[in-house]
């Protein structure tokens, strides 16, 4: 595969590309979906193909072919150069891709039990176990979904600076959802565990108990009330702090948004953007996390990105293009969700660093507010400066005491204000929430986390 990769890059250069790169992938995987005690679908995938990218004086061309026939890959190289020239003709912004030292490396993600060596029957047995753990948890559980995904694949990344990085990637993921019903009210709970690594991860306590976690949450929510709408001081749990770090700030620090003139953080480097106790980090180098990768999808070695240090905006996340155009060194934040997508700037493991208060102090100091727990999803428009994220559960805090349970609260704020309104950071740091982040139609595996934090002036949306 390596010889073919270099021949394809050479072909693109010979046709006039100033820079060219590619991603060749051969991936297999299994997905098992169990609903209410029966398999709904058992899926196997065979994904093989290549995406070639060429650059000519400000214009990119990108071409994708399926399969690994050398003639198809050569054709993709030719198309990518032709398209780069079409882009260049009408591009107004001219720039170069700055040369980087070539990186030649073989990477293998840690994996003790390769998923392909495990019989499908054993994987189904594991998922049925998750399903059963939900059904026996409480008789009010009326419906269950349990899901397992694995992926094993070989990826070759090559570029015209001489980089050639081969990666053997393996990851596994389990997720559960349970629906509980009582007095005509239906509530849903969920849980997920995902990590780079093999089937051994499905034997951990966290994986085995994720069904029970989902069922417990569904039952808990049966006696919840809709959250009141309005402006509150909120204490966020570890997952919600992670979601805040990711949605409220992380996306606006992606340098492609800065170059697109679509981030309110443009021109803010070196300025106070948060309370001085806030440090916000995106770090793909944390081992045994769902967002882990040693080299990014342009072959660049990954590194820890300290986006905010002591309240000051210090760094953006870059790919080869944004670093070239902004006069920075590439810092390994380019990711593609498959060979069929071009690499774009993405997050990995995003978190707010720990403080020195205890969780109880954050709550005990609060006269009137909300404790917000568990993240469902969030989104942001960096050009509008607005974000939202939705929790699983919220609790009233009155005179430092946690009381009434609420559900389905959404929290919204302004990127430039929210971290300045942090009034306390606890010491109970956890990187806990594996999932997928969507951007430009591409999914990236990520983890979020942090300690409990307290934030004022949060607008909470609810029905009451």
């Amino acid at each position: 595969m390596e010889d073919l990769a270099e021949a394809v890059i050479d072909r693109a250069l010979s046709l006039g590309a100033e820079f060219a790169d590619l991603r060749i992938e051969s991936v297999s995987g299994v997905n098992i979906l169990v609903m209410d005690g029966k398999t709904k679908t058992v899926t196997a995938r065979i994904d093989r193909g290549c995406g070639v990218r060429s650059f000519v004086n400000g214009g990119w061309g990108f071409a994708v072919c399926n399969g690994l026939e050398s003639s198809e890959l050569m054709k993709a190289a030719e198309i990518s150069v032709r398209l780069a020239k079409v882009s260049k003709e009408k591009a107004k912004v001219r720039f170069k891709i700055e040369s980087t030292p070539s990186i030649r490396k073989n990477i293998e993600y840690g994996c003790r039990t390769a998923p392909s060596t495990v019989a499908v029957a054993d994987k189904i047995s594991f998922v049925l176990g998750l399903d059963k753990s939900m059904s026996v948890h409480d008789e009010r559980i009326i419906s269950r979904s349990a899901r397992y995904d694995d992926l094993e694949g070989d990826r070759v990344i090559a570029n015209s600076f001489g980089t050639l990085v081969k990666t053997r990637e393996t990851w596994t993921l389990a997720s559960c959802a349970a629906w509980g019903k009582s007095d005509g009210i239906v509530q849903r709970g969920h849980g997920a565990v995902g990590n780079v690594g093999g089937f051994e991860l499905m034997g951990t306590d966290a994986a085995v108990s994720c069904g029970e976690e989902a069922a417990e949450q569904a039952i808990r929510l049966l006696d919840s009330k809709p959250v009141p709408a309005g402006k509150f001081t909120c204490v966020l749990d570890n997952k919600m702090t992670g979601l805040l770090a990711h949605e409220a700030f992380g996306h606006a620090c992606e340098a492609d948004a800065i170059l697109a003139g679509a981030s309110v953080l443009e021109g803010m480097e070196g300025k106070m953007v948060a309370h001085e106790a806030v440090t916000l980090v995106d770090d793909p180098t944390v081992p045994e996390t769902f967002g882990f990768f040693p080299n990014d999808w342009e072959g660049v070695e990954s590194k820890k990105h300290v986006l905010i240090q002591d309240g000051v905006l210090t760094e953006f996340m870059h790919n080869l293009e944004t670093s070239s155009r902004m006069g920075k060194l590439p810092n390994g934040a380019a990711r593609s969700d498959s060979y069929a997508s071009p690499p774009i700037v993405r997050m990995s493991n995003t978190y707010i660093g720990p403080g020195d208060m205890s969780r109880d102090e954050l709550i005990g100091d609060l006269k009137d507010g909300l404790l917000i727990k568990g993240g469902q999803y969030g989104y942001v428009e960096p050009a509008k400066g607005q974000f939202m994220f939705k929790c699983d559960e919220a609790y009233q805090i009155k005179d430092g005491v946690v009381g009434q349970r609420y559900r389905d609260a959404i929290l919204t704020g302004l990127i430039q204000d929210v971290l300045k309104d942090v009034t306390g950071i606890a010491d109970d740091f956890e990187l806990v929430d594996p999932g997928y982040c969507g951007k430009s139609g591409q999914d990236a595996r990520t983890t979020d986390g942090g300690p409990h934090i307290r934030v004022t002036n949060v607008v909470v949306g609810g029905l009451a």
């Binding site: 709904k40 196997a44 193909g49 071409a63 107004k92 003139g261 509008k384 939202m388």
Partner: protein
């Protein structure tokens, strides 16, 4: 097309030889071309050829599925063996009653536009630049980001009952985000258009709408928490109704008691002003098709008629479970079908029956309220509760749409939302799989920062 149908039928035979007696096979050949603009400058042109095959096998009701990104014999054999073995590994399911039988083909106009298929990359870039010029036509606009995608797809579907069907589809999509600045204030406006037909006017319309809304959002104010009448722009209404009705009426969710619409068939779920039907035969609409993801002929069906829930949306599995006929709502996902996922249940093109009120009349009648243009939140389909960020919205004061409101939310139960619809506009547009005009909801809870 004939070759693809023959290949689909051959793969059905291959699966049979491997012992998979009940199966369907989708052969797909999609081609996508895109052009992208970043901050007003052409950034990238792309092309993707995406041939592939999906094989679904049932063994005593247990469903195995496999796909490969190739139509070559080696990969197809591998996928067929995997699909058979996956089906055998699963749990038998007596609720599966069989795959659809062959039926008379239905002719649906407006699935394929040869002008879309023939569009060259240079022409696509020029069209996109016309959008950018339109979106940039104001001093306050500091950046325009935009994209144009042209897709063509040919699919052939065959199953073990002898069903064989094929069709060609096209899709033409444009998107724009205009960013406006005034001093320290920054706001963005977005719009998009999606059709199976090449519409030379849509880039200009999308560009001008993105520009207008970016500038409009520069003037903003806070809003007090309270109950207000809310007018839903088609963009917001489409996004909400696509999940609330398309997802809520999904028969799988209903049968498993996961939907707020379970047990409500034949009952009032909304105001008499609300009628919604699902029409897979709508000319040039993105969800239109001449057969569904399992080969069932499409038909127009009323989902909500003057507030009464008339049907759920079925595929062959859920229909068999309820001993009725499939409504033809098996979906292979998207305007150009995907072979990478097993078929699921989806609405095709939801259509909200239009009323007779213009937007101006609706706003004037409002007095004080909120105009919600953009949100990307999803309802909780189990509880039927919906809370969302007003990503782009405006205060309505003295019968006029006024400044943008920021950091504000809307919360309402979906059944309340349907019941409180008191006015339906007369001028629909397509948004997120729904053709809908503006809709007024008499009261919803607004959370504000004021």
């Amino acid at each position: 097309m004939t070759e693809m149908s023959e290949l689909a039928e051959e793969v059905v035979e291959l699966v049979r030889r491997l012992g998979g007696r009940v199966c369907d096979v989708l052969v797909s050949d999609a081609r996508l071309s895109t052009a992208e603009v970043e901050k007003g400058s052409v950034k990238q042109a792309s092309f993707m050829a995406d041939p592939g095959i999906a094989i679904r096998v049932f063994e005593n009701g247990s469903c195995g599925f496999a796909y490969c990104t190739s139509q070559g014999a080696t990969e197809v054999n591998e996928a067929a063996e995997l699909a058979v073995s996956m089906a055998r590994a699963g749990i038998p399911d007596a609720d599966f009653k069989g795959l659809p039988e062959p039926s008379s083909p239905v002719v649906v106009d407006g699935l394929y536009d040869s002008k879309v298929a023939a569009l060259r990359p240079e022409e696509a870039v020029d069209l996109l630049l016309s959008l950018v010029d339109e979106a940039s036509a104001a001093e306050k606009v500091s950046s325009v980001n935009a994209g144009l995608t042209v897709s063509t797809g040919e699919v052939a579907l065959a199953n073990s009952n002898g069903l064989s069907a094929a069709q060609r589809m096209t899709s033409f999509d444009v998107f724009a985000e205009a960013v406006a600045r005034s001093g320290d204030i920054m706001f963005s406006g977005m719009d998009y258009a999606s059709s199976r037909k090449l519409d030379m006017d849509s880039p200009l319309k999308v560009g001008s709408s993105a520009r207008e809304h970016a500038i409009k959002g520069l003037t903003h104010q806070k809003i007090q928490t309270g109950d207000y009448p809310v007018i839903l722009d088609p963009l917001a209404a489409g996004y909400i109704l696509s999940a609330a009705i398309g997802g809520g009426a999904n028969a799988e969710s209903v049968q498993r008691r996961r939907s707020y619409l379970a047990g409500r068939l034949g009952t009032a779920v909304g105001s008499e002003k609300l009628s919604v039907y699902d029409d897979p035969t709508l000319e040039w609409a993105i969800g239109s098709t001449s057969f569904d993801g399992e080969g069932v002929a499409p038909r127009n069906k009323s989902v909500i008629e003057e507030g009464t829930l008339k049907t759920y949306l079925y595929d062959s599995y859920t229909a068999g479970k309820d001993s009725i006929e499939s409504t033809g709502n098996s979906s292979r996902g998207g305007a150009i079908w995907s072979y990478r996922h097993p078929p699921g249940i989806s609405s095709a093109n939801l259509v909200v029956r239009r009323g007779e009120v213009s937007l101006d009349e609706m706003v004037q009648d409002c007095g004080k309220g909120v105009y919600l243009r953009v949100t990307f939140d999803s309802p909780n389909l189990a509880t039927g509760e919906f809370s969302c960020l007003i990503m782009e919205g405006y205060a309505i004061e003295n019968g006029e749409i006024g400044p943008a409101i920021r950091q504000s939310t809307m919360g309402i139960g979906l059944l309340d939302l349907f019941s409180r619809i008191d006015l339906v506009g007369s001028c629909p547009r397509h948004a997120f799989g729904v053709e809908t005009p503006v809709i007024r909801v008499s009261s919803a809870r607004i959370g504000g920062s004021g």
